[in-house]
């Protein structure tokens, strides 16, 4: 009896997490008639028309490309900068180190609207609206607090002895960081990179205000602003959504252990 109810709980959790999205994925393969059918059609006739339309008429590939560039650049720069800062915060006793970490924590909690107007005006003044570097700059500052926090906890756990040995062998601080510490911290860097990438790939608010030209817009903006006032092209939206989500679901399934570790590293372990 106990086993049965436990099994029931497992099935319920899996159904709760997967079924709504699975339904949306199935919708992407349905014909227009199947989408609006009552009672709903369970098994689609596996049309690929919506995917074709999303690519040919709505520029899905362009959105994917933009998202890949923006999320990729954000991840690379942000993790690089965060690694330097986190290493310093973990190894040196800065007078303001603790206060800096607190400030970052506070920044990560503020609603985007608190800085949106001035960020927009700053980017406009720089001529960076509707550019990759404009949105990437905003994303880097959004992701740095989180990345620095996660990496600081990772660096604190690395033993100092190996570095000390490298110093004795005549390495400079910079050489030790590059040749000894970073390779050892690779798992932590990788975890931070996955989380920053997912965040940048999904971010919508700043993308919406910074990127107003379709040529540079990212996937979330494209999907949110999908044209269609009166009859929504649900098949095409579902197709674009499926494609936007696939890389993330793949990342999550493959690296779930790291993601869980990273999310709880900043939060619970300290």
């Amino acid at each position: 009896m106990k086993r049965v109810s436990f099994l029931g709980a497992i099935v319920a959790i899996a159904a709760f997490s997967l079924l709504p999205f699975l339904w949306f994925v199935l919708t992407s393969w349905k014909s227009a008639n199947e989408i609006s059918a009552i009672p709903p059609v369970l098994v689609p006739s596996f049309h690929w028309d919506h995917y074709r339309a999303a690519v040919e008429q709505h520029g899905l590939l362009r959105y994917i490309g933009n998202s890949a560039v923006v999320a990729g650049a954000t991840t690379a720069v942000s993790v690089g900068i965060a690694a330097l800062a986190a290493y310093a915060l973990a190894r040196f006793n800065f007078r303001w180190g603790r206060a800096y970490l607190m400030l970052l924590l506070a920044f990560s909690m503020f609603p985007q609207i608190a800085i949106a107007g001035p960020v927009w005006r700053l980017l406009s003044w720089l001529g960076w609206l509707n550019s990759y570097h404009g949105v990437v700059a905003a994303y880097i500052s959004l992701s740095l607090p989180f990345a620095i926090w996660v990496l600081t906890t990772f660096f604190k756990e690395l033993p100092r002895d190996i570095e000390e040995a490298a110093f004795i062998d005549g390495c400079s601080r910079w050489q030790a960081l590059r040749m000894v510490v970073l390779p050892l911290a690779a798992p932590g860097l990788f975890t931070a990179a996955i989380l920053v990438f997912i965040h940048a790939w999904n971010e919508f608010f700043f993308a919406l205000i910074i990127l107003t030209y379709p040529a540079v817009q990212t996937l979330p903006v494209g999907i949110a602003l999908f044209p269609g006032e009166y009859t929504m092209p649900w098949g095409e939206i579902a197709a674009a959504s499926t494609i936007a989500t696939l890389p993330l679901v793949a990342l999550t399934l493959v690296f779930q252990r790291r993601i869980v570790q990273g999310l709880s590293a900043g939060a619970v372990k300290g």
Partner: protein, 296 residues
């Protein structure tokens, strides 16, 4: 040659520059602009200092007050539900069974899906003519179908459902991490003393997982207060402003209507409320987060 142990600011500098330019300066600038009249669509008016006028307007703006109430309602309903659901999921995930890693990955799926995608997905499920939600409730009786996103009483609830679906898994992960640090010896000792499962849950699990529950609750509170994507895609703040949460109202004023000055005043108000939340958060958990003396 021995490397210096003196604090080396060069390592920190790039991050400080980014944070100063794109986070610190904008917040200060939001405060400054909140005292100005600045309208993007009327550039010839320029920037005019108007003192506390925007704040007077905000205090007497019925839509703003409703927005605050809507945001508060949203936070007050979604966060406890998410933490409770998260606790339930975490308790299951904390047991050892075959396929546990698989289930943990499955639970992460709603969290990993872009919020914009889950917003469109729920909009589709809540569709008034062929949404699955209506079919589950009313079957073939299409004349009885609801339009949840167009009904003032239901729209906010629909957005809450979408948020609960997406964010419960995050709460579950935080709580799971808290469960996993409870030493199994305590449970073994309790079993020897003849404690029942419900006694163990009440007297061991619950007190020891409380910090993690609190952490999940506060994380979710702060995040729920920022809700934007769901509202933008599902309702655009409607019907009749019933889902017009603060962050969306600020966006609308600043960017749709171009009222950067008044929008900044809303931004400052939102900022102050979240600052209050963060201070509570940091005071409750800050020392533990930085905890040099272990204490998981």
């Amino acid at each position: 040659m021995k490397a210096s142990h003196e604090p080396n600011l060069r390592f920190l500098l790039p991050s400080v520059v980014f944070v100063a330019v794109f986070s610190l300066y904008p917040i200060i600038e939001s405060f400054r602009l909140s005292y100005y009249r600045l309208i993007l669509t009327l550039p010839w008016l320029g920037q005019k200092f108007i003192g506390w006028d925007n704040y007077y307007d905000l205090a007497t703006d019925p839509v703003a007050l409703q927005s605050l109430l809507t945001s508060m309602t949203f936070v007050a309903v979604t966060t406890p539900v998410e933490v409770l659901l998260g606790l339930g999921m975490a308790l299951v995930l904390n047991e050892s069974f075959r396929g546990r890693g698989w289930l943990r990955a499955v639970v992460l799926v709603p969290w990993a899906i872009p919020t914009v995608v889950s917003s469109q997905m729920w909009r589709f499920l809540f569709n008034d003519r062929y949404g699955l939600f209506n079919f589950v409730l009313f079957g073939d009786a299409t004349d009885r179908y609801w339009a949840p996103l167009a009904e003032p009483g239901l729209a906010l609830m629909s957005i809450m459902v979408a948020d609960i679906w997406k964010s419960s898994s995050f709460a579950a992960l935080i709580i799971l991490a808290g469960l996993q640090v409870i030493p199994s010896e305590i449970y073994e000792a309790a079993s020897i003393d003849g404690a029942s499962p419900s006694q163990k849950f009440r007297h061991i699990t619950l007190p020891l997982v409380k910090p993690a529950l609190l952490l999940a609750l506060l994380f979710r509170t702060i995040d729920a207060f920022k809700v934007f994507d769901l509202v933008f895609v599902m309702t655009q703040g409607g019907p009749a402003d019933t889902t017009n949460v603060l962050q969306f109202y600020g966006y609308k004023k600043s960017f749709a209507e171009g009222m950067i000055g008044y929008g900044s005043t809303i931004a400052v108000a939102v900022f102050l409320v979240s600052l209050l939340l963060s201070i509570v958060y940091i005071r409750l958990l800050g020392t533990r987060l930085l905890g040099k003396e272990g204490g998981a």
